[in-house]
Symmetry: D2
Subunit: 395 residues, 4 copies
């Protein structure tokens, strides 16, 4: 039970260390019949990839994904999809000083304390490099959702870096703007300020915290398995699995602390037939008159947009001089983390957050029978031939 | 997979509705050889119980726990412990108006949307009454931890109600003060203000949000199963399972958004032999020079105190008039929730938070082999007779 | 992970010891909307109950099931069903001699070796009494299947006791005859011989082995989750969980050892529209020309009847004098098991086998989306009111 | 939940199709500190590999395993071990005739019925090729067991092919003889007869069934998690997961049907200090006077050797002409399976059976705390440096 698995029916199982030979993810529970676009998976990996801008680490990883199984003639077969991403630009030598002298506030010490050893190059298994596996799995989940009868849309952006906060944005703005700048912030003015702030910290050899706002549209009502697998419970687990997360909120989040019941409670009315957000709602269905509840009531989706926020602490890898304690020599020593690192985490965490949302939403769709676990289109057992190639040339 | 299970090796499985016949919890993974104090379980239930003060609901539930299995002559046997708590004071009549007209911001609508039906009395399965099961299980977990070689201490208190915030408190103050007032706040002055504020909202027929601070001491280093079952991931799931939670934070939490890496990073030094918090640390072991990391690095415990905070929105059951939409008649209608309800959630949520922490910590202890899963004292397979009664009179 | 859970989506979690206060089972994953007939659950328990005939133990257990949750107005609500069966006729005194001197070939020694203790009355947790929980859960599974669009029929009978073997029987004979005699054998002549043989062993103070044949009709094709959760894998786990099982076979079973591929392989033809067994097969569908494969190919159901056999060793509780080794005194001693016991296991195991088949088949139906996990009739999220009582009088 | 996972704490997750790009297995739950011998893993794959003798398929797969993660400087790190085996000699063209015309008694039809498609080359996901993953994982499990304080030995051999049955063999004979002939039968005379029989069927273009006897020594007493995860339950699942298994037996197996309680029951005595089989037994411990129970009582190990048998039906791929039904054309057609196939399964299944036994035994050892899940040698949290290389040259 070393925690390398996420999901109930749609399930990812991962392996890999930052400077190991390769990262790998096995995706189980993908229904058959989904036309799998491997380039679209690659495109998601490219969004997460290091070296994509001046404000990310300069490690040069192509992050090319290889799909080993689960696909026939471009369509999923219902069997597990194994994917491998080779590590190409590992330079472990720089990590030599930290083998027995943990870097401040990294996982160096805790991994060694747990296992008596660790893969010490580049942070090993504790590295954010692991999330390349999640993004690959999330891209598969996204394609399954797209191939279904449902119209789920998921988007995240960076809403705060240090003391710079973005203005609230509409979902349309999220979609339109958040990939338009290196910070991945959908408020262009705030994005410019954030960029400046990040560069400032980068120059100082320091780093800074930040947060991400996420929103899911089109998630049907009735999803979630309370009490321990309610929608927020599983999303909480997912978000806190992303390295360096220190806070997760849904709906009003922490602001709810000072809001009264009468303010927050939302009266019920009837759908007038023009409601945009209730994907399954029809004219005459009961609908709440607001969405301070963030799309979740009693741990189950209401059909309203699900939204929330997560906070990341500043990256711990900073060029500034720091002090460690070398357990081999018994001496304290000055260290300087000279690797290639991100000055801020949220910009590259955006695709990771989206990936975990796709995985979680799809898992709940399968669990609630909204998407058939065996075949995305049509009933299992109703025999047909359409995905069968007629000749081996198609293979 | 309807979400009624929590934990990997120490596992609770629950059932029950607010106005059903009984609540029940099966606790699996309790090692043998723990002297089980049923009165101590009852004492924890009493802390959570309705009607314990003027600021809680007046529902009159004795919450008497009956242990059906897993214990012989007062000691656990390693087999599942089944517990049942009868519901005695269910008065469903008051809920009649809401059967087809959901109360604002409750789980009424979502449960009905998911299942096409629901147990509508008192909120049914979505009610916070379910947490009586968790507190019973947590009390078992606490006793297992107490019977082990480890010295784990867990305590929570209410650190904010509305705009009243408690001053930071030491762990000693937490232990000494938090049960001294009805609010369960370890800062007596803040507690008095909170009490006043709560009564004010109670009089207005309204409710208000709040938050809880929690801290775990003596949790050994090296616990956690990253990447998806890291300590914060599992705690995140646990905390978001508690009804009405809207935010969860660890360490600096949301404040980390504006803290630099150089401020937050903690240099390493060596234990000078007087360190209080590192339970397993010995003189000469590396220790971090602070605890902004909240006892967690890379998803694994450092041995430092684990602390964090969770936020609850205001209770949705308020006496004020509200509007619902009756899907049977197709008419909107005014409703007034006349049941017996809490004006604020955190005071009664304190024992629930503690219970989930006990369950989670114990689960990780078992997963890491720190407590033997078969027998809390001694090695399995090393045959001995001490728990065997010599005569049936002992039974 | 003490093994008290079975199933993926339809899941039973159990507790209880033979002479403990009560047995209990929590059934999760029951879709909403099933009219639950509690008397039918009771009727199944009565089939398994001790004292039902001269060839079973005379322990006088009424085995009355109490349903604590998950049902509203007679219909399931989609939430867990908690059931409790009190133990009424425990007489532990007789087991006093075995507290530290294990009975031959029971679980006395192994439970004590594992846990350092055990509930020693009546075999404690290792007793076949536990299967009362399984039969209750199986009765729920049966009702869910009955309420679905599918027409699944499951039946087992005793096909061998000692050297007496029943003739092969048709499924119709199975249904018609197997409950007509105390042995539960659908071949009346063999049943009479078996009865005689059992009484003979009973008189000698001895016991004898036997086997059960089981058959499932109407299980749709396409069920099973190979490679580790194939239909036979899960059934194998289920069958070997029944106490005293020493062998499990599917299709040709052990006889396949000496059958050639050309004999066993079954050519494919097309359904002529009159095929009885292929519930989902329509005219023109491919069908195999035989069923030596036992309804299972590649770990997945073909739609043909699933059949197999399981073997039980002779009950270990026999009145004959035997020798134990008392680890307290360090002395061997003569013992005589004077409790009330079955001279043969299969007759009472028939309802247990059927129960585990119902649970397994339903679980696979849910996993393959053949029955909606949220609501047995209709789509979740398509809001309707039919199960909602219009007044609390209905409650 | 497509069944690609086995184990609770020691867990394998697999992917791959017979003619896909690669097979892959992720092994989770390997404690840190095990010196991992990759050549020994390869040696096990070589035992399972096609083309190893005249009586196996001639497919030319090198089956070279690549370890992608979880190892540092030759030692396991406690993190998941990802392994990949490329498929090199896939010739799918031969399978073209069966794309829409299922081969008799294969998984062709059932996979297509379930998923509406399948990877049709070489049997796809239903192929026994999948077991290459299991053997790789089993080789890891074996090395973990070897690195522990325990002395577990596991061996299997072919004890029957068609009507040729081996004489009973001692464990020493099993170890000494079973790899000495192509049939993998420890009785040399029977082996020669079996070889002859197999060649006879091979010449006839036919195939034949067979069975395997397995035995585990040194498994400590007290392992197993009844009631649903008892040792036989989990082994039953494991054995029935191996393709073409039709029967599984433990101890007396099917022969128990006609054995009396007084014959089968084994009196208890005390260990005289010379007992070979009880690894943990000391002089004076209670021991049973025989092993008809097959090392298992109440679903838990007694410390005696665990033994049993499994039966495989004849391979379904035979060169003889057979008839299929083509669902595309609606016509029956004659087919001839011209691939490269095994005339009998048990010889190559021997390493697979052993692998699943290693995995299962190790999993139970971890679950019972007999091997620490974090570190195979020493206590987690007791910090030391021995596995840390002192320089990056060691990397």
């Amino acid at each position: 039970m070393n925690g390398n698995r996420f999901g109930r029916l749609f399930q990812l199982t991962t392996y890999g260390e930052s400077h190991g030979d390769a990262m790998g993810v096995t995706v189980s529970g993908v229904p058959a019949g989904v036309e799998l676009d491997e380039e679209a998976i690659q495109a998601q990996l490219d969004r997460r990839k290091p070296g994509q801008s001046m404000i990310t680490t300069s490690r040069g990883e192509p992050d090319e994904v290889v799909v080993n199984s689960g696909v026939q003639d471009g369509y999923t077969t219902g069997t597990p999809i194994g994917m491998v991403i080779q590590n190409k630009d590992a330079r472990s030598g720089k990590y030599e000083p930290y083998v027995t002298a943990p870097r401040p506030s990294h996982g160096d010490y805790t991994y060694s304390a747990k296992f008596g050893t660790r893969n010490w190059g580049g942070g090993g298994r504790s590295s954010a490099r692991e999330t390349v596996n999640w993004v690959a799995a999330g891209a598969v989940a996204e394609q399954v959702l797209d191939a279904s009868d449902h119209d789920v849309e998921i988007k995240a952006h960076v809403n705060r870096i240090g003391d710079v906060e973005a203005d609230p944005v509409s979902f349309e703005q999220l979609l339109a703007n958040s990939e338009e700048n290196d910070v991945r912030c959908a408020d262009p003015d705030a994005a410019a300020e954030m960029q400046e702030l990040i560069e400032e910290y980068q120059e100082k050899g320091d780093s800074i915290g930040g947060s991400i706002y996420f929103e899911c549209r089109g998630v049907p009502r009735g999803l979630g398995a309370p009490r321990f697998d309610g929608f927020p419970s599983r999303l909480g687990q997912a978000m806190f699995s992303i390295p360096a997360t220190t806070g997760v909120e849904f709906g009003l989040g922490k602001d709810a602390v000072d809001v009264t019941g009468s303010e927050r409670n939302e009266d019920w009315t009837f759908d007038d037939g023009e409601s945009f957000d209730h994907v399954e709602s029809e004219e005459g269905d009961p609908v709440p008159e607001g969405n301070d509840h963030g799309g979740l009531q009693g741990g189950i989706t209401t059909g309203e947009p699900i939204y929330g926020e997560a906070t990341w602490h500043a990256p711990t890898s900073i060029p500034k001089k720091q002090r460690s304690a070398d357990w081999e020599t018994g001496e304290e020593k000055e260290i300087q983390v000279v690797g290639r690192h991100d000055p801020v985490l949220p910009p590259r965490a955006v695709p990771v957050v989206e990936a975990m949302l796709y995985c979680t939403v799809l898992d709940f769709m399968l669990l609630a029978g909204r998407i058939n676990p065996d075949r995305v289109d049509g009933n299992p057992g109703q025999y047909d031939t359409e995905y069968h190639p007629s000749s081996p040339e198609n293979e």
